[in-house]
Amino acid sequence: MKIDPTPAYRQPTIFGYRISTRTLRREAFGIFALVALTLIIIGPMMTVFLWAFAERWRQPALLPTEWGLSYWYETLARNDITSAMPMSLGLALTVTALSAIICLPAAYAFARINFPGRQGLLLSFLAVNAFPRFGLYVTIAVVFFRLGLVGTLPGVILIQLVNTLLTMIWIPTSAFQNIDRALEEAALDVGAGRLRVFFQITLPQVFPALAAALLLTFVSTFYEAQGALIIGIPGIRTMAVLMYSYINNQIVVQYGAVISLMLWLPSLVLLSFAQKFLRGNTVSSGFGV
């Protein structure tokens, strides 16, 4: 006979529910984690938020001494920002589009066509993760320097393309692999053309994963600063690269805070879709997990 390790009379109750001591201990940890993470993760973000709307923040004060939006107008009127913003958006769009054109057909082939060496070639894209990132950028920069690509737009596009390959190939490949082939065959049987099957049966099934891959690529390219810094300077300055000088030269704090919030907007869009991506294995399939 098995003996119940925690007899009912020993269990504490909360709001009339019986709760085992194990659950209680676990949720105590949960509350501790909640408080710690709020302080560590939300704290810094809130600080930036406050600074962006601070007209004046005399130390020492817990909150800005005067609130206002005047730094938003001032920041948005700055020449470096009005030229960096379109540059950043344009670059991110170009790189994402190029990456999609280059990688999506390949992802389809990796998933659906059985050719010798397929597994090995698919795995070779992991090499991007197996190198320390900045070391790789430096060796690319050395080659680009010889080719005269340092400080040019094509140079920055190419180095940012490197970052997108794995996401753009692995996530769509696993999506194409998970397609229900029976549906496609049924459609072909009733006389649908190949193109029509692709657009009406195949595409809708992979659409969420493709959207995830595109969005992730766009956002990560928009934020990419290291490659753009080492290849782009001095000719090309994106918003993310501008942040380096805004942080190191400590000009007006509010400028940095306003740029941070503006840079953060695309992330908010991503965040609102996040629950969907993170629940499945969409994102982790981009790391080979």
Partner: protein
């Protein structure tokens, strides 16, 4: 005959579709990395003199006390940060795996939040939060009248704190996904025969999640070793992490061959971990096929 030519057509289509990203991979990763490795062991080529093999560049690197201390510092930060990450993320992931409470839902959102904060914004936010006269400093002064807060800004602890912050989501994501593969029944069976919580963790859970564990370990080590933005913006002027050192050598001192040597050295140091990563991922693919 017809089927054979059809098969060849499919093969051809397959290779044609995967060619573009493969070409990018070879030209932008394998070629720059490979030529950098070769160039670091060659004597300087001049007209009429055939190139020879030499390890001079490496001897020069290790003869320089600054270079040596930067390399050790990078290894030290990488090991300490990775260890801390496991220390923070294991309890979190275990909690998220075993709790379904509302608190767990919020903890998960908080733990994944840094995924949506790019490095430059993180650095800016942490300076304002933990820097001298930052939010935490001010808070301690005003509320507790405590003036002894020591900022981690421009110190090794600043780099480590920010790198842990940055890598929490990925680590938690992968560990939680791994832990979900471990079935409740296995753990309950072990508990029923009297195994303690720690013993269940080390003897049952850990071996079962070996694969995600290895992947997250490798990617964290390589990611931290090759980091640039955070050590550049939050770290001390000396010693520097290799990413910062390389950027300075390349951009400020215009010493391309020096930067190349530093990059190849970081490749060599990370190659063991990179190989382990590729092997871990490959093994799973092999088993599944």
């Amino acid at each position: 005959m017809a089927t054979r030519s059809r098969y060849l057509n499919t093969l051809f289509a397959g290779y044609a579709l995967i060619a573009p990203p493969l070409i990018i991979l070879v030209l932008l990763i394998f070629y720059p990395a490979g030529q950098a490795i070769v160039r670091t062991v060659m004597t300087d080529q001049e007209v009429g003199i055939t190139a020879g093999l030499t390890l001079d560049r490496y001897f020069n690197f290790f003869a320089d006390p600054i270079a040596r201390s930067n390399l050790w510092f990078t290894i030290w930060v990488t090991v300490v940060t990775t260890a801390l990450l496991f220390l923070v993320c294991f309890p979190l992931s275990l909690y998220l795996r075993f709790s379904n409470s509302r608190i767990a839902g919020i903890v998960q959102v908080l733990a994944l939040f840094p995924l949506f904060v790019p490095g430059v914004i993180l650095a800016f936010a942490l300076i304002r939060y933990l820097g001298p006269r930052g939010t935490v400093d001010t808070f301690l002064r005003i509320v507790f009248n405590y003036t002894g807060f020591v900022t981690p800004y421009l110190k090794p602890s600043g780099i480590i704190f920010a790198l842990v912050w940055d890598h929490i989501p990925f680590t938690v994501l992968v560990l939680t996904a791994g832990l979900r593969q471990v079935e409740d029944s296995v753990i309950e069976a072990a508990r029923d025969v009297g195994a303690s919580g720690l013993r269940v963790f080390f003897q049952i859970v850990l071996p079962l999640i070996q694969r995600p564990l290895l992947i997250v370990f490798c990617l964290n080590m390589i990611g931290i070793f090759g980091s640039f933005t955070i050590p550049y913006l939050l770290g001390p002027a000396a010693p520097q992490m290799m990413g910062v050192y390389m950027q300075q050598t390349f951009t400020d001192y215009l010493d391309r061959s020096g930067a190349e040597t530093q990059a190849v050295l970081s490749f060599l140091i990370c190659s063991v971990i990179g190989a382990l990563y590729v092997r871990t991922v490959t093994r799973r693919r092999g088993e599944r096929a």
